[in-house]
């Protein structure tokens, strides 16, 4: 599933239960907020990927995908418009973005 993309990359997937988009985090978990997202390239990325795939094997997430990242300081953000949309939620329903959907989170 690893695609050859140049430069730093992040790992994106969907949670099995609700399908929502999550990013592999620096502490080896998954979070919808890119602020926690791990990134890397070369061997660092390969090592991250091995860890991320363990979650897939545990049936926590599906569809692991490497995506291009833009680095600002020590934080990574998706580069492509599609992945930016995935990180933010629908641009036309700001009330449904992951960062503001507290009620949805509590269900």
């Amino acid at each position: 599933m690893a695609k050859k993309i140049k430069g730093p990359q992040m790992i994106l997937a969907n949670r099995l239960d609700d399908g929502r988009v999550v990013f592999f985090t620096k502490d080896g978990g998954w979070n919808s907020d890119t602020v926690f997202a791990a990134y890397g390239e070369g061997e660092t990325l390969e090592a991250l990927l091995v860890e991320a795939d363990k979650s897939a094997a545990n049936n926590l997430i599906v569809g692991t995908e490497l995506i291009g990242a833009t680095i600002d300081g020590d934080q990574a953000y998706p580069s492509h418009i599609k992945h930016i949309m995935q990180a933010k939620g629908p641009s036309v329903r700001a009330d449904l973005g992951y960062q503001v959907s507290a009620d949805w989170e509590r269900r």
């Binding site: 969907n14 399908g19 569809g63 580069s79 492509h80 599609k82 629908p90």
Partner: protein, 551 residues
């Protein structure tokens, strides 16, 4: 409306139980995602851009008030309080949880609905004229035949793994409101010289990356042979359709490669083999199904309503709504109402749970508990008395459903685009919103007149841009959203492919370009001439010069 018999009931109940078990096994890890994916797709459950998406079938776009109320309940309980009506007359929920999906399907089964065959390479939901059985320009109600197709195609063992998805549309009216020529199989009810009912059969239409207008392979198929002939078409396609390349796998590619004449010949050969093998249902069964679709008994009404006429004189928006959002019923004193799901600044095709509840309540009170979904992503209340229109419009308007734009420029077909869809290259909803804001003046819209704008966020053409008088196609240019402008398409009986006008635009430029196209039209149109006729008369060049030379 059709009511489930014990076989229908049993089929959906068994399917819900089966899927519940499959979901449990997936969550426990007994099924891998690779194993589970085709199973969830067969039950209408996609994994979309942000989350799961459940597509629920609304067979031939007809549902009851109770069914609409159940959709509202599902939106409220299991989703985020809204749903999205699609060009296949279905509804999509954008945020269901996997573990709750079996409960949703059970709730749907309870009101005779399901999500079966709303995905996958099988025969999808059959679409039809939203005014079927209620319009003055109809030869016969096409819904009994659509229901026959539904029953024949549901779990059809031979056609569950076709080379690609397969879409039927059927209309009973001369005016094609179901885009039949853009379907894998399009059917038009015809009457022969002897007054017998039959069907014109059109095959090989489709949109996507290779837009093709279907070809008529039979001018008149007798009613008694209805299903066996469809079976013969599907057999030829199933055997010879390409399976090596998904972009070449639709029937349109086969028909183009083979030629319509040769395709028709092979269908006839196949049909000869099977036509007498009891695929067609006996006339008594056709009559049994037709009985479910008998016109309602409507009380006598005057041809005009003083209450409605007086209200229209006082309220310009209502007068516009009366003109644009109602059409002639076959019974005097009645109309069909089209409820616009295209509020200016809103999301085309979306309805909140509260709006769905209101439409259900209005259907109970005014339209025999009947509701329709159009492929243009609006809702219809059929069989409404003319005198009731002011009260209905007032309720709709209060709920944000009173927009008087049906058939006008802002009544756009718009796919979910990159706001929701994993396949999309560009957003389409924000462009639609910008267009509706630019053309927010009802008097201006009225002056522009009937015009169909259709927009897709990618080449798959879910927003029917090939069939738009004005089409907009979102593309990805090096990671940037860009938009191509197309002109001259039609999804009606005069089906035509729209042509790309020139280089694409950014999100602001496309709205400006559309406005320039409209300005050209207003400047050169002849008395009473609608946009498409003007385009056909003068061609693309004048529009091209206005859009690009002045840029």
């Amino acid at each position: 409306m059709y009511a489930y018999d014990k076989f229908d009931r049993s089929l959906v109940d068994i399917r819900v139980a089966e899927f519940r078990d499959q979901v449990e096994r997936r969550v426990k890890g007994d099924l891998t995602e690779e194993e589970f994916r085709p199973i969830r797709l067969m039950n209408g459950l996609y994994l979309q851009l942000h989350a799961y998406m459940l597509r629920v079938a609304v067979p031939y776009g007809t549902m009851s008030g109770d069914q609409m109320r159940r959709l509202a309940h599902i939106a409220r309980k299991y989703d985020k309080g809204y749903g999205h009506f699609t060009t296949r007359q279905n509804i999509q929920f954008n945020w269901p949880k996997l573990s709750e999906t079996p409960d949703i399907l059970a709730e749907l089964a309870d009101v005779e609905m399901h999500a079966i065959q709303t995905s996958g390479n099988c025969i999808r939901n059959v679409t039809s004229d939203q005014f079927a059985g209620a319009t003055a320009d109809e030869i016969a109600d096409p819904r009994p035949y659509a229901e026959l197709l539904r029953q024949w195609s549901s779990f059809h063992p031979e056609f569950s793994f076709l080379p690609r998805k397969f879409k039927f549309a059927i209309t009973g009216a001369d005016q094609d409101r179901a885009a039949v020529k853009w379907h894998d199989i399009g059917l038009i009810v015809r009457k022969n010289d002897a007054g017998e009912i039959g069907f014109e059969v059109i095959v090989g239409g489709g949109m996507g990356r290779t837009p093709v207008i279907g070809k008529t392979i039979r001018e008149f198929l007798p009613e008694k042979d209805f299903l066996s002939y469809q079976e013969a078409i599907l057999r030829v396609y199933n055997e010879q359709g390409r399976r090596d390349n998904k972009y070449k796998a639709r029937i349109k590619i086969l028909v183009e490669a083979m030629g319509a004449e040769e395709f028709a010949r092979q269908v006839e050969v196949e049909w000869e083999k099977i036509k007498d093998s009891h695929i067609d249902v006996p006339q008594e069964e056709v009559a049994r199904i037709q009985a479910f679709f008998q016109p309602p008994e409507l009380a006598n009404q005057d041809a005009t309503s003083a209450v409605t006429s007086e209200f229209a004189k006082k309220n310009f928006i209502f007068a516009s709504w009366l003109q644009n959002n109602t059409n002639a019923h076959k019974v005097q004193g009645y109309v069909n109402i089209t409820i616009s799901l295209k509020p200016h600044g809103g999301i085309p095709g979306d309805a909140s749970a509260e709006q769905m509840d209101l439409v259900a309540a209005l259907s109970d009170e005014y339209s025999q508990s009947e509701i329709r979904v159009s492929h243009e992503q609006n809702l219809i209340l059929p069989h409404v008395a003319l005198k009731d229109l002011p009260a209905i419009w007032a309720d709709l308007d209060e709920a944000g459903l009173g927009t008087a734009n049906v058939g006008l420029l802002t009544d756009m077909i718009v796919c979910p685009g990159l706001d929701y869809c994993a396949l999309a290259n560009a957003r389409s909803i924000p462009i639609a919103q910008a267009i509706t804001k630019r053309f927010d003046d009802m008097k201006r819209l009225q002056d522009i007149g009937p015009i169909k704008v259709k927009m897709s966020g990618c080449i798959n053409a879910c927003g029917h841009h090939h069939a738009g008088h004005i089409g907009i196609l979102g593309v990805d240019r090096k990671g940037q959203e860009m938009y191509q402008l197309l002109l001259g398409g039609s999804g009606a009986e005069d089906a035509t492919k729209a042509a790309i006008l020139g280089p694409g635009f950014d999100e602001h430029g496309i709205v400006d370009a559309l406005e320039k196209v409209v300005a050209v039209y207003l400047g050169v149109r002849e008395d009473g001439e609608e946009f498409l006729s003007t385009y056909r008369r003068i061609g693309a060049q004048v529009f091209k010069e206005a859009v690009y030379d002045a840029a």
